[in-house]
């Protein structure tokens, strides 16, 4: 395997051919190569491209550089206040050592159904900026994941940044990662919700689910139960049910498909109520 440390984005793009793979934090790629899950001819190290490591406000949006680490997310006031589901997912992400290395782009590019950053980015209408020797393009995250560990990104394309809509005044949100231990655990179910309220009416609803289908996705049928409505218990019930119906999970060592499916309903119901500040029933 050839190893090349890119000194600039252009150099990285020029090297991105013939079975090359970009290396950011390496927390997915290194174990993948080590355990023979991935074979690569050339490793193009982009980890020193500081121009890809930033978190900024631009044109009323939040731009997150591809190389921003999960720790960077946690240390950003902007993320904490204007993208709190992403902030909360970063809190639950791996442990400090991995968070220091793991990049936002790497998490999306790895395209695991359980990628923790995907649900919160999806509910803030993320668009990824891609570049290749041929030029640049923008791809909504909702069109990014094609199938199990398959993305719409071409092999020679480099992700430069992820752009999200800030929560703003009207944004009501919540996030939850159901996991089997308190750190370093792959999600059993990940849920993020954002409701943009116009007075008492829900102007836009975003609900996303992770680890319950081949890809992380927006539960559109559930969102439709809320959009344009005054949200009461009936709407929340309908959305929870639709979310549960939308899930296509598998059985694995962490949980059964049936449990995961059921949790989609439970958690969507709970998070919607939490986002709206509605009382949660004391379950007995």
């Amino acid at each position: 395997m050839e190893f090349l440390r890119a000194a600039s984005v252009d150099e990285a793009l020029a090297a991105a051919r013939d079975g090359a793979a970009f290396v950011a934090g390496g927390t997915n790629l290194v174990p993948d190569v080590l355990f023979g899950r991935k074979k690569i001819a050339r490793a193009v190290d982009i980890s020193r491209l500081d121009e890809l490591r930033f978190i900024e406000e631009a044109d009323g949006k939040i731009r997150i550089g591809a190389l921003a680490s999960v720790t960077d997310l946690l240390e950003s006031e902007l993320i904490r206040t204007a993208a709190s589901p992403l902030y909360e997912s970063a809190l639950e992400f791996a442990g400090p050592l991995v968070r220091n290395r793991a990049s936002v782009a790497g998490n999306l590019m790895d395209a695991s159904p359980a990628a923790d950053l995907a649900p919160p980015l999806l509910v803030q209408d993320a668009v990824v900026e891609l570049a290749s020797a041929e030029g640049e393009r923008a791809l909504p995250l909702s069109e990014f994941f094609l199938d199990y560990r398959k993305t719409a990104v071409r092999p020679e394309e480099l992700m430069k940044a992820i752009v999200i809509e800030p929560l703003g005044q009207e944004g009501r949100c919540a996030y939850y990662k159901l996991q089997l231990r308190r750190a370093m655990a792959i999600a059993v179910v990940g849920v993020a919700v954002v409701l943009r309220m116009k007075g008492s009416v829900c102007a836009e609803a975003a609900i996303s689910l992770g680890a319950v289908a081949a890809v992380p996705y927006r539960a559109q049928a559930a969102e439709a139960c809320l959009c344009g409505k005054e949200i009461g218990v009936a709407e929340i019930e309908a959305a929870a049910e639709a979310a549960e119906d939308s899930a296509r999970p598998i059985d694995d060592v962490r949980a059964s498909a049936a449990y995961r499916k059921k949790m989609c309903g439970v958690l969507v119901r709970r998070l919607l109520k939490k986002a709206l500040g509605m009382p949660q029933p004391v379950a007995v």
Partner: protein, 756 residues
Amino acid sequence: MSTRVVGQPHPIIDAVEKVSGATIFINDLELPGALTGLALRSPHPHARILNLDTSAAERLAGVAVVLSKNNTPNAPFGINHKDEAAFCREKARYVGDEVAAVAAADEETAREALSLIRVDYEVLPTVADPFAAQEPNAPLVHDSVTGNIANEFHIKRGEIDEAFDAADAAFADEFHTHLAHQAYIEPTGCAAQWHPGGKISVWGCLQSVFLIRTFMLGPAMGMSPDDFRVTQTKPGGAFGGKLDVKAALMAAMLSRAAEKPVRFMMSLEEDLIAMRPRMPVHISLESAWKRDGTLAGKRVRIVAENGAYSSLSPAIMSSIALRTDNLYKTPAAEIQGKLVYTNIIPSGQMRGFGNVQATYAWESHLDNVADSLGLDPAELRLKNYTEKGDVSLHGWKIASCAVADATRYVVEEMDWKAKRARGGKGRGVGLASCIHVSGNKGFSVELGPDDTDPSSGVVRVDEEGKVEIWSGESDLGQGATSVMAYIASEVMGIPVERFRVPPTDTGYMPFGMGAFASRITLIGGNAVKLAAEDARRNLLDAAAEFMEIPADELEIVEGEVRAKALPERKMSVGEVVRRAGSVIEGNGKWLAGGDVLDKEKYGNPSTTYSFSTHGAEVEVDMETGVVTILGICCGHDPGRVINRLGAEGQVEGGAVQGMSFAMMEGLAPLEGHLRGKNFHDYLIATSMDAPPIEHDFFESMDPYGPYGAKGLAEVAINPITAAICNAIYHATGGARIRTLPVSPERVLEAIEEARK
């Protein structure tokens, strides 16, 4: 008795070496010219080996030897049944079974050699389920063992049928435990060096350097145990898993064949699929009671999963079967056990030696009983506990016992009464107790030289006043060497800093059985104490001559021999040795009490017994089943605390390790294939998962223990699983966890079942 060192908090004696990274673990051990050894493991749970061709591997440049059934004699070995061999003969019986091994110049070459070995397998049906395995037409794991039953027993003690007939109430329950690994952080490895003349040196993190020669290396290699010099390397964790370490055999066989040193280091995945994880069991319980909560009798049926080979499993099953009957005054019992072969990784011993499983089942059952009888679970236990002076139904002699004190402490500390009264609504408290041996005579017969469960120690004082302790008992990170140093320091009046306890080595050290059955503090500690007393006597006798003061008028204080009446008349210990010769030594040997059980498993297996009670407070999310452990509170009776820091470490480590087993661990076999074969899928608790732990010690001052001490390693882990499950039961108003681990999914199922 007032003590100077014993009972104080000391860092373990090699703490600085360990935390500064200076410790040499097996993987750091360099042997000049060593080859790399690797094993080829079966990818199938059950397969006949039709043809095995190693010729291409042998031809590869850099390969020294390839071993397999083709060029090794069929020398079966095994502690209870001789059902194992170095390499698969006619069949592979689990995924991970050693089919062949290579030794090559480097790891890359060794890996390539493995890939060149051709094995033609005829895949056979997998025996995965221990109940299906007993069906008449089930495939056989070992062709000669009908019904796949490795062992079985049926014992009736006391008037059991009458007890049930006369009882006011009887209750039944079933529990299932899972396959969980010891999950030490250091993967297993061994190194071996063949010497011209036919001797072999072996190194590794091993629980018994002496016994591995007699139960494995000698018989499997057709050599005498004396042909091996086995040296312990500093432990990276064991928890029961480093007793029957086949890596030692692999390294030794490869080294003999290659006539070169060989390092055989297992990967983490190999370790997870091919060591000896904690035995899964299926336990059915019935108990008979008087209305006032007095236990009248119990029936226990056990189906234990042996996996592909037996090793110590028959003894583990026995321990599961009998152990809890001795914690309570049990008038009658009927016990049936079946140990069943499957095509799953051979199960084995882990901290608790079956008692974790047994205690989980029985102590969960007890809370169901208390609930049905309308009694407080703590009161029910206090009413039935065994006491000092009791001889249990099975013949166990209780020499010291503070379990009731431990329980009262937990009740008080947890604000039990108020919290029990609140109960339900997703928050609850539970507790559980256990009894454990301090050494087990049975092992001495099965593994040792005779039926005495012996330990010997040597204490040597040199001309600089430094003291070295030689003991055959291994330190596995539990602090054994520190305990020995503190005991000897207490006896000899020489500061702890002067002591050194080198790694156990059969080459020059006296015999010890090793680290298992919580035996080292009691048995090894007593041997070292005797040796230290002998050394002290010899020092004083020598000093008496030089100082012209009778020995009984002298004492040793701070490393100086002083005249009791005239403290300014003194000589340093080093000076005494210098004038007397080169070293002054003391020897000690201690034989454990108790007896070997008879055929009906009656008798007193241990000198004495330790106790503990653990409590847990939990919060249960009633919609997701997610359990948060808010706090753990434990009381222990270790007889006497020798090193307070070490004892606290045992207790906190045991609680967290037990909680981890209960809540998240599991190799998760599916049709013979393990799913938890890395630390991503095999979860162990992290520091984030560890709740606050309150604890205290209740020192029963055991009459046999060194300074009153008995074992602490296993009582520290046994009850926590049941304590947590009982707290969940309380929190949820009746969700009983009958199958481990306690996943959110299982909790939710139990909540739904309880609602019905």
